[in-house]
Symmetry: C2
Subunit: 109 residues, 2 copies
DNA sequence: CAGTATCCAATGAGATACTG
DNA sequence: CAGTATCTCATTGGATACTG
């Protein structure tokens, strides 16, 4: 299998996952989308303090990584719905264990 | 239960976990320490291209978060050993599921 | 409504040099 | 050996204003 590119370093798959869900709002976005499809404005309100620019960027990145599906209805006024792909939904157990661990950490303080 | 402080936002525990393990080298450091205690120089060599400054910082942060234990033998030449605390070892299942997910993502490309 | 364009500040992390 | 001190740069994300 050739020369493994260059800087494969060590145990990369974990870092791949981190790159995908590591953005400032990404796990929160995924969290909401696990409950169902949402429109851009709904996400903005649910997330509370995110700017349009930032939400847009995080969604595009999640889409590029195959986690989120973007459906543009091509209407005016615009209507766009975001949902999780199968790959995105497969993140649920990870989020759950991360939530459990985070809760434990916060508790023990 | 009062007013929930201020910016509790939404589902924070997951983000707590992300803040703890989200550093550039942290999951890799934890990965190695899951196999046993290591000295500073060993970690440096294992990680390949990390600078002393960066490794030092990441270790201090992991220590502050209760994940890593630092044992200074107070000898000359210096000898310092790093290991995981119980809390640190409890991250193992999370890393494993993240590794599985990351592998799946890399595979499907 | 669902964005994009610009500009800007904060953080993270690398390179290099030095030290008890 | 195990760091610390500086300096620097790249990336991330926020604020604001504008648009099809």
């Amino acid at each position: 299998m050739a020369k493994v590119k260059k800087q494969a370093a060590v145990s990369c798959p974990v870092e791949t996952t981190l790159r995908v869900i590591g953005g400032r709002w990404k796990v929160l976005i995924i969290h909401f989308l696990l409950h169902g499809t949402m429109r851009f404005g709904e996400l903005t309100r649910s997330l509370g303090t995110i700017s349009a620019r930032t939400l847009s960027k995080q969604l595009r990145e999640l889409e590029a990584d195959g986690v989120v599906d973007r459906k543009d209805f091509g209407e005016i006024p615009p209507k766009v719905e975001y949902s999780l792909t199968a790959l995105g939904r497969s993140l649920e157990p990870i989020l759950q264990s991360m939530e459990a661990w985070g809760t434990a950490v916060e508790t023990r303080r």
